[in-house]
Symmetry: C2
Subunit: 279 residues, 2 copies
Amino acid sequence: VRDRSVAQNAQLALLLEVSGTPKPGNVDRERDFADLRFEHFMAGAVGARPGLELAAAGEPVGEAFERAVDGMADQSAGNTQFGALLVLSPLVAAASEGALTPARADAVVRNTTVADSAGFYRAFEHVDVAVDDPPDGLEPLDVRYGADAIPELESRGLTLLDVMERSADVDGVAAEWVGQFERVFDAAEAILDDDGPVPDRASRAFLDLLAEGPDTFVVTRNGPEAAAEVQRRAQAVLAGEEDATELAEELVARDINPGTTADLVAGALFVALERGLVV
Amino acid sequence: VRDRSVAQNAQLALLLEVSGTPKPGNVDRERDFADLRFEHFMAGAVGARPGLELAAAGEPVGEAFERAVDGMADQSAGNTQFGALLVLSPLVAAASEGALTPARADAVVRNTTVADSAGFYRAFEHVDVAVDDPPDGLEPLDVRYGADAIPELESRGLTLLDVMERSADVDGVAAEWVGQFERVFDAAEAILDDDGPVPDRASRAFLDLLAEGPDTFVVTRNGPEAAAEVQRRAQAVLAGEEDATELAEELVARDINPGTTADLVAGALFVALERGLVV
């Protein structure tokens, strides 16, 4: 038997992430939103793979990410795994250089360039992503400008890590980029220490992360109070005071989707696979 | 957005097949066997892709199939998609040459050689597949010999189509090889004519095929009476006399797995994707 490649592990992480259930508020093996369904995540993972292979081949992270997003978007539901690919791209690049460690991942993001930022901005032209208005002074860098913001990136000399630093307080994925992917690596170790079927471990890792801090995608789409409620109720699930499946049904019905937490789980599953998780 | 390649459509077909529910007796989005679970099919589809790409690149079908099986087997449950890959390999080769038609698929299988047979036999060394004893006179060609049977294949000059002809009456996948993939193409058209989410269409196509004839994998593992019962009860589901989900629960509990019918659905989903099915 041939072992999976780094890019194959990343694709499998995307598939395992959406297979975990319950993941309250997310598309999972048992739940869909009306226009964002399980099959769209399957197609997204299939389409993302060539971009993940570019990252594994040592191509620039921004270019690999843009290519992954472009392929991911080849399904009818729009954004399925934008954030997950933003977590995975540097981790895949790091894993292709040797054992996957926080230090190696940190080196990858520190080596990003203005060209990587340009790739990141171009990726927004392939798919609609829910984002907030930029903070004061950063209006010219609104990601919704896509490639039109590239001259501004160049004049300010912003690397992709610089861009992530500017949104780390409002985006849980950007926070991982600037924080050595600490929550991702911690969740990966929890998945490795857990037992039972891998999708069940993914579900438990998701709940742990959800209870740990507010999901920034919920903050963006539903507001900070909804995000605080989701965190509090995930804590109640962990305390045995609420049922995870009932919470999953309720959040889907209310269109509250903790997508950033799912992105971190995808990253954690990839790290765990690279560290020997058996499927 | 970049369109999916032929190999990507084949990989997506594998993923959509297992996502359809209910598919009575099969692993599906809602059901697992104890040691053969949804995540193993995810990993199987990830691992199979390089072999599918060989088929799309025009490499010999037997070699591509063997490579696909080798990668598919890189998960802990053993055989997940051996039969599906045997359906897909010639269809992928045909699709890479132009519009996917029965005539083009037939030309691919007619062009197979003794080397393709050798690849097919080698594939049995990568994974345990449930098979019957060979008929009288064909003992030296028992697939369980794996590569040890290759000298016999060579001395008899058997192409892979010749091998399939010898088992077409006991193996529904082999029957497709010798019959211009008629049931696969018919099911693809039914999927295209259907509406609603693609996994739901896959479930309906599965039930139609199951009602149409005995599943040869059930014949092999559970005997002809069990296969006849499964066919009859699928007919009862179509007649509104039985509930598909209850039948699914019962067949999984009885370890009756109509895997050949699932293989045909994977092929049908691939043909449908090549013909414009939107996910």
